[in-house]
Amino acid sequence: MSVRIRLALHGCTNRPFYHIVVAPSKFKRDGRHLEQVGSYDPLPNTNNEKSVALNIERIKYWLSVGAQPTIPVYKLLGMAGLLPIHPRMYLEAERARNAAATKSKSSETESTESEPQPKTA
């Protein structure tokens, strides 16, 4: 058992909202924790941005005494510039780009196929 920095799921049905908490892995996901050090809203707001709050001071303290961030939290801290980027993120990004590229190619070929043939007299 070790102290983790992880996401605790709050919010309600079809509306997730995460608290970034420091808790030993023994405690329940949404239950008792040592301290809340931030929040993460996975749904974009009206300005099309996802907002993450991080109590950098306290996160730095907990990291210094050996708290282990879970992968999602590590990714958030990496994106924020506090920790190095997780290698999996580069992999996921490349996969996403490839998927987007193949999708656009297939939609292009579909549209050329579905174009109406010119009527012959």
């Binding site: 907002s51 109590n55 924020a80 996403a96």
Partner: protein
């Protein structure tokens, strides 16, 4: 024609323009050159003059307003206690009339921190990270944005204001700019002479160095100057800002005319004194020799405002002292 006592007017185009249109109406006198004054707005002497010109009308400062119902309080006091409470009231009024800061517009933020295009495609939206450490103040809080293309950059002022309002809400502030501070709604409120309300809302909503704060304040001041509605802001904390705006843009004819018409000779003298303080190297300041009430007449003559000079000369003997106007 240039006044004979202004031999250097030809060298300075803006002064020439002023003389050329001196005889025309107030509206056509408008030009927006901002000449940097010799003193800053926070200077002690400047503040003293601005505070004096703002005045202190207790009936206006403590105007009746809606508050939650409560039992009226009656006190039986002797003369000494009555005087003491009156002095405390005046002190409270002075606190309420303190000028909000007048600052230049803040420089744009949003500098690139890290160029990481290999992360492009990971997220389909921007992700904004706000540092919610308790020891930070909103102005120095670290707020960064990881963009869709993978770049990490500092947040723009717009993003900063929004995030600070989300996590550390200021009382009375909205996330988006209220409709009354923009477009048609703002124009309608100015038409209804609700300038003070607009300025109060802008002071609550925006930071003093933000683009919207400055835009709203300048629009309100311009409207007041064009319609001669200076009395709307007199004895409020916005009057100092109005005076400073007019002073830095040399738009003094309207307000001087209003002060003379309303018999506020001491205010007119203070206005000319403020001009001498802010622009000591300009022509009128160098040539003004007379002191007191005659100074105002001399100033008007130098500027080529003959109608105002005539008005000033009739008022030199009259005029209520400022102490009689304050309650």
């Amino acid at each position: 024609f240039p006044h004979p006592s202004l031999p250097h007017a030809m060298a300075n185009r803006s002064w020439l323009l002023k003389l050329a249109v001196g005889g025309l109406s107030r509206a056509s006198c408008r030009y927006k050159s901002t000449q940097p004054p010799a003193k800053s707005v926070t200077d002690e002497q400047v503040q003293k003059l601005l505070t004096r010109m703002t005045g202190l009308d207790l009936d206006k400062v403590f105007k009746t307003r809606r508050e939650p119902l409560s039992q009226p309080l009656y006190k039986l006091v002797d003369e000494h206690q009555l005087k003491k409470s009156q002095m405390e009231t005046v002190q409270r009024a002075r606190e309420l009339l303190k000028m909000p800061p007048v600052l230049p517009q803040r420089k744009e933020k949003g500098e690139l921190i890290q160029d990481d295009t290999k992360l492009a495609g990971l997220e389909d939206t921007n992700v904004v990270f706000t540092d919610i450490s308790q020891t930070e103040s909103n102005s120095s809080r670290r707020i960064v944005v990881r963009e869709k293309n993978g770049n990490l950059r500092g947040a723009t002022w717009d993003e900063r204001d929004r995030m600070c309002q989300i996590y550390f809400p200021a009382l009375g502030r909205q996330l988006t700019l209220p409709a009354m501070l923009q477009g048609n709604d703002l124009a309608r409120l100015l038409k209804e002479q609700r300038h003070k309300e607009v300025l109060e809302r802008a002071n609550i909503q925006c930071e003093p160095d933000s683009k919207d704060y400055i835009r709203v304040h300048h629009m309100v001041y311009d409207d007041i100057d064009q319609r001669g509605l200076y009395d709307l802001l007199r004895s409020t904390r916005h009057f100092g800002g109005l005076l400073w705006y007019l002073m830095t843009r040399q738009l003094l004819k309207g307000i001087l005319e209003e002060m003379l018409e309303k018999n506020l000779m001491e205010d007119a003298i203070d206005l000319v004194g403020l001009f001498k303080l802010c622009y000591p190297d300009h022509e009128p300041s160098k040539s003004l020799t007379k002191a007191g009430k005659k100074c105002v007449q001399e100033f008007c003559e130098h500027q080529g405002w003959t109608d105002l000079a005539a008005l000033a000369s009739t008022k030199i003997d009259g005029g209520e002292p400022r102490s009689a106007q304050a309650q």
